[in-house]
């Protein structure tokens, strides 16, 4: 019996005939109607088979609720109308930004469009910032290949782009005697798989991380794990791309495409129609929608939400690096690597994440129960964890395919698209390697019509904003004497100077929002959450950009903070 027949029988039994499968050109399609989203996802999981098919497209109509449409920018103009870039990158997350930068190594004209008001606004800014050693991945997975390669690239790329990166290592802890023995044999298995690993006795583990749960009996140490600021890296990639000639257009959403034969000829946006020679799909949770527009849809995204909590520096001194406990991350069942407790690059402890399937691709709301759930689990590692030590929490959406793997390849049917799609964890780790390959694929597509040469003027070096409080006293003093703005502290919690805020407003990627400044230099990233510095930063943005304060927003248009002068505003 064929696979389709078998799977149809199973689907029919499970969903009382409401769902069916068909195959076409090595793609499996699911059709039908279901009113529970969990069932829609369950059907996809039942049917997926990556050996037999290039992908699974889940077209089951969800009748339980209205799936919200993609949030669109407010602006409408023709600033890009008629543009003819060699390469159009759709999506300004870390993957899109890294691709734009790697593409700039070739003599190609690059345009990156991002529908949000800043780059790295969605999944890239909403994760734990771990550079994974590649623990839970299975040989043969695309994401494993890019994880291993990406991890090895981190030292060099972060040095070129001047982004702080700490190879802090990761502990996976085990509890009970039996598990300690299992851990010992586990390390041999992991060694075969690739990542460097070391078995630590209870004694040795507590020498390194003395405040963790006394129930821990052994740990595996992965020295190749690290932490980075994911949006810091994405920004550096984007700025370096722009410095090397790429164009970045924010507030720009792709609305449709015109396909002729097997090629995309034009891409319609809210800022005009673009005529690219190659299109790169780095659209994150919307990468299946972009694939649909390109008539190249052979995979589906089922969004999966995760919530992380950031602890105050004071509570963060309990641990030094990344610690998780075996059994808390549910990798198989929930498809998350679940960082556990991560000491971020900014030296805050991050607790999380969980994994919840959702049909809302941009639902960044948080839930009290998600935070409570994650804390409950992570107390296995550190029993002293307490929600009251939180300074903030946030949610992100993973762009998961049913194959639970990345899609890194040229189009299946459409010839001038390259997909960098379905990127979830370990996307941050993998991005540098993905970008190199995707840029090469884009150059290959382009070289079918013209010769593509390396860009001789490419400069890999990027300088980040100087974080004044990381300098030693003498260097800091010298800098302040050059520019007194570095001696005026605006954000008291994180010690950010007026000079750094001004720097953030004058970079290669424009920034004119409170959140934008926060992601670049961290004011309001501390325990007061901007209660003190928010108004100061707002005034600096207005002053530096020449806008009235009423037009300064939290994260972009529509999120303005002030309504106008007192006495003049009508309720």
């Amino acid at each position: 019996m064929s696979y389709v027949k078998r799977i149809n029988r199973k689907l029919s039994a499970r969903f009382s005939g409401r769902v069916s499968a068909r195959e076409h050109d090595r793609v499996l399609y699911l059709e039908g109607e279901l009113d529970r989203w969990d069932d829609v996802v369950a059907a996809g999981r039942m049917a997926v088979n990556r050996k037999k098919y290039d992908g699974l497209v889940n077209d089951i109509h969800f009748t339980g609720d209205v799936i919200p449409p993609m949030r669109l920018p407010r602006v409408q103009d023709d600033s890009l109308d008629g543009a003819t870039p060699d390469v159009l990158v759709i999506g300004g997350g870390i993957v899109g930004c890294a691709i734009a930068r790697e593409c700039a190594k070739y003599d190609m004209q690059i345009l990156l469009v991002e529908k949000e008001h800043d780059i790295a606004m969605q999944t890239t800014s909403r994760n734990d910032g771990m550079v994974h050693p590649g623990i839970d991945l299975i040989p043969g997975q695309i994401k494993r290949y890019y994880n291993m390669r990406g991890n090895r690239m981190y030292d060099q790329i972060c040095s070129e782009l001047d982004v702080p990166f700490l190879r802090s290592g990761q502990y996976v802890c085990f509890q009970g005697r039996a598990m300690a023995i299992a851990a010992f044999f586990g390390q041999l298995y992991y060694k075969l798989l690739g990542p460097r690993v070391q078995y630590l006795s209870k004694h040795e583990f507590f020498r390194r991380e003395p405040n963790m749960s006394p129930a821990i009996t052994a740990a595996l140490y992965y020295p190749d794990a690290g932490v980075v600021s994911p949006y810091g890296l994405a920004l550096a990639y984007a700025e370096n791309a722009v410095d090397n000639g790429a164009q970045v257009s924010l507030d720009t959403a792709v609305l449709g495409m015109t396909i002729e034969g097997d090629r995309i000829v034009s891409v319609r946006t809210n800022r005009g129609t673009i005529y690219p020679k190659v299109v790169i799909n780095a659209a994150g949770v919307f990468s299946d929608d972009v694939a649909r527009m390109a008539q190249d849809r052979f995979f589906s995204i089922h969004p999966r939400k995760g919530t992380n909590t950031i602890l105050d520096h004071k509570a963060s001194v309990r641990m030094r690096t990344i610690v998780s406990s075996y059994g808390t991350s549910d990798t198989r069942k929930r498809h998350t690597k679940g960082g556990g407790l991560v000491k971020t690059i900014d030296q805050n402890t991050l607790v999380g994440p969980d994994a919840v399937e959702t049909y809302r691709k941009e639902d960044f709301s948080t839930e009290a129960q998600s935070v409570a759930f994650v804390f409950d689990r992570q107390r296995a590692t550190d029993p002293a964890l307490h929600i009251r030590d939180s300074i903030t929490y946030f949610s992100g959406i993973r762009a998961a395919t049913y194959e639970e793997d990345f899609v890194i390849r040229r189009g299946k049917w459409t010839k001038n698209i390259v997909h960098a799609a379905g990127i979830q964890s370990p996307g941050i780790t993998a991005a540098p390697a993905i970008a190199v390959d995707v840029a090469k694929m884009a150059a290959d597509v382009l070289s079918e019509t013209r010769e593509v040469k390396p860009n001789p003027a490419f400069n890999p070096i990027h300088k980040s904003i100087v974080h004044v409080n990381e300098l030693d006293d003498a260097a800091r003093d010298a800098l302040i004497r050059e520019n007194p703005d570095y001696g005026e502290i605006v954000c008291r919690c994180e010690q950010i100077s007026r000079g750094e805020v001004i720097d953030a407003l004058h970079r290669s990627i424009p920034c004119d929002t409170l959140d934008g400044v926060r992601r670049r230099v961290r004011p309001s990233g501390g325990r007061c959450q901007g209660a003190f510095c928010g108004p100061l930063v707002l005034q600096l943005i207005a002053q530096q950009t020449g806008k009235p304060v009423e037009q300064v927003g939290k994260s972009g248009p529509g999120g303005e903070i002030l309504f106008g002068s007192i006495k003049e505003v009508q309720a």
Binding site: D473, R476, I480, R481, Q529, A531, E550, L562, A571
Partner: protein, 422 residues
Amino acid sequence: MTQELYFDVTVIGAGPAGLAAALAANREGAKTLLIEREARLGGILKQCIHDGFGLVRYGEKLSGPEYAERFIEQLPKSNVQVWTLSFVNVIKRENNESILTVITREGMKQIRTRALIFATGCRERTSRQIGVHGRHTAGVLTAGTAQYYTNILGKLPTKRCMILGSGDIGLIMARRLTLEGAEVVGVYEAKPTPSGLTRNVSQCLWDFDIPLHVSKTVTRVFGDARLTAVEIASVDACMCPIAGTEEIIPCDALILSVGLIPENELAESIGVPLDAKTKGAVVDEHNETLLRGVYACGNALHVNDLVDYVSESGEIAGKAAANETCCSRGLVPVECDQSLLYVVPQRICRSLDEPERIFFFRSARDLDNATLTITKGEETLYSIKFAHLRPPEMERLPVQLTREQLDGNLPLRFHLEEQTNE
């Protein structure tokens, strides 16, 4: 780095506590430095343009800036050195002296000081600390931030808002925003009674027909870029939301007045022991912490409701810091049971001959006809009756204690009891 400068007394923070402390230290002849991180002196008083300040101290109703001015205008006539836009970065301790690195627009400066006074004030509890969930939009702000926008910038942060928490700043802002033409849909308080002063509830809410909803809290906020609605729910006795009581209220801002936290991160960095109840330093009646030569005063010590007491607290610290007052016979611990929220000071000197000691305390709940007793072991040293006590209203209590009463190692215990009518 410039050469190290020496001061007898250095005060960090030029709000009402720091101003009073610096002036008091100066009056005692100490070489005094006042460090302020903002551009202007006065701390939070700068934005408190409502009146009611100074009733106790001056018998007048002043606005915040007027009250601050009474101190600021004395500075040019004094020998206090004042550094504004100056930020204390690191403190180190050496032989009971403190060495401060200060960041200024002129560069990094190093200071050695015999006595150090923390007058660092407090910060507001944020929406995240009380677990507000939903979308993280523009339009969720603390009452102090709303006050800055309205009173310093002259810009309205809302047209129609909800205020969560009935702390004094929230009540003041409810009135202020109403006066400026914004609509305040209501003040919501999770506790069964308001957290602010009775006079503020009456003058800010009742006089302007602003509804107060007690035993209700915010469970969720909605919106995309800007807040569009807030979900509230009734809470049970444990302050947990009761399912089924949710109600969604459209508004463009959620303004929080849910508590103040003394800012003691700098003090903690040099190991000043804090009181878990006040979140401020443990001090004796001179406001000296358990670290020699290190003092704390004002809202950094415990959150006051009247600025007059904040100034007094600064003066006590300033005077003692200048005079190197020390307790040669050691300290007696002062403790309270669960009938009180806290007592300050948490230690008193055994040795001093001044018989009057001043205590500040708050009751743990509303009490009528309550008796406060101070005991040591089995012995009752002092007792006094209060007609009404409410947690939002801090009490200032002068107590006469003799040297003999302070002998021995037993702590003084504060206890409150409601009189039953017989």
